[in-house]
């Protein structure tokens, strides 16, 4: 693909020239930073599609996510972080049950980012909602605001984090849509990978803005809905069968 090549050469420009430019000391302590930008892929909106008709009594996505991102419980269920969880639904009228994973829904208009006083909660240009832990002060207002209960607060000092997923006491965190994998160009997430390898193949990752991506084609053909669509947040995670 021509697009991939283009981005490769741009990245090389950065790793080389950027390193050099960053070292230019104009005056003591004053840096001339690079002007070129290797950024998130343009015009992309990453998303997930989850087919709750296929998703069954399986926990592969949760296990994989937490292993990938070094999210270990302390055996304290009330304070342990959960980036993704399986939610079981039961229709009291019919007794019909189903199960589906819920994680950060990566809203287009994220309430967490709206309420965050320091702007630590933000949405990347490619649609991924993240917490910048450098500026998170741990006020937990985002947790009050999130309609999906997608966020966890870290209640104790941590050690042994995954290198690509920094997390520490006193800050809030949530699903990153495996942003480290996306930036490496892997085009999948730990949960989706596990769902296909070990689970029921109920999850699809892809670019919602690309009409030819698998996720867009599937959505165009069979449709999909959002949790709490009434809030108008336009989440990047879509579901079928709810």
């Amino acid at each position: 693909m021509s697009r991939k090549n283009a981005s490769l050469s741009r990245r090389q420009f950065i790793t080389g020239a950027a390193a050099a430019v960053a070292g230019v000391t104009v005056a003591p302590g004053v840096f001339l930073m690079r002007s070129a930008e290797e950024k998130t892929a343009e015009g992309v909106r990453w998303g997930l599609l989850i087919d709750s008709n296929r998703c069954g009594d399986c926990n592969a996505c949760v296990t994989a996510c937490h292993a990938e991102n070094g999210v270990h419980g302390m055996d304290r269920p009330r304070t342990d972080a959960q980036w993704i969880r399986k939610v079981d639904l039961r229709d009291p009228g019919t007794g019909h049950t189903r199960s589906l994973p819920v994680m950060c829904q990566h809203c287009e208009n994220p309430p967490c980012a709206d309420v965050c006083p320091t702007g630590a909660s933000f949405r990347r240009e490619d649609g991924i909602v993240l917490v910048d832990k450098h500026t998170c002060i741990g006020c937990r207002y985002c947790m009050m605001a999130c309609p999906y209960k997608a966020r966890s607060f870290i209640h104790e000092p941590l050690a042994g984090q995954a290198a690509h997923a920094p997390r520490g006491k006193g800050t809030v965190e949530s699903c990153t849509l495996c942003v480290h994998r996306i930036d490496r160009g892997e085009g999948t997430t730990a949960c989706v990978e596990a769902c296909h390898e070990l689970g029921n193949g109920a999850m699809t990752f892809g670019d919602l803005n690309d009409p030819d991506s698998a996720i867009s084609r599937e959505l165009a053909e069979h449709g999909g809905s959002a949790i709490r669509a009434d809030l108008g947040l336009n989440p990047g995670v879509r579901y079928q069968g709810i």
Binding site: F13, R124, A163
Partner: protein, 169 residues
């Protein structure tokens, strides 16, 4: 008030509040030995000249972290994880500064930074030592037309090394 007495009191006060504490401070100014670098994980070469990185690694990291986190601009040369992979021994702990490349120097210099409250403080098993990136674009890299002046500027300041020179690693 007796002028002599008050003068004497003034001198005493001056000694007590000024000279004595200052001389105590002067007494502390002996030579001190910086801590040894942790040899096994110091790396052979850094991504920047040693005097630059020694003085300004903090600035480089803080400048680029916002780009990395917010815009996905990930520069492997200046990535936090790369520093750790190269310079920190895999059994080091930042809580035991004598074992840890970063923490030993920070402790010595009384620098308190909170990187390791969130970041992993040692290399992950799979990725010990990253390959050092040469300080230049890759050999097959072609400058875009509008970047030519940037190249010229860099070459003038001697910071853009010819691609062949230290791309041996």
């Amino acid at each position: 008030m007796d002028p002599v007495k008050s003068l004497g009191r003034g001198v005493l006060r001056w000694l007590g509040f000024g000279v004595l504490p200052l001389s105590l401070l002067l007494g502390c100014g002996g030579s001190v030995e910086p801590p040894d670098m942790t040899e096994e994980a110091r790396g052979d070469q850094c991504v920047e000249p040693v005097d630059v990185i020694r003085k300004d690694h903090g600035k480089i990291l803080t400048h680029e972290r916002d780009h990395a986190v917010r815009d996905g601009v990930r520069n492997p040369d200046h990535g936090f994880v790369s520093c750790i992979d190269c310079h920190v021994a895999s059994d080091a702990r930042h809580s035991e500064p004598e074992t840890h490349f970063c923490a030993s120097c920070h402790t010595f210099n009384a620098v308190s930074v909170d990187c390791f409250e969130c970041h992993r403080d040692r290399p992950s098993a799979s990725a010990h030592l990253h390959s050092l990136n040469p300080h230049a674009p890759a050999p097959e890299f072609a400058w875009e037309a509008d970047q030519q002046d940037v190249t010229a500027t860099l070459a003038e300041t001697g910071l853009l090394l010819p691609p062949s020179e230290d791309a041996t690693q």
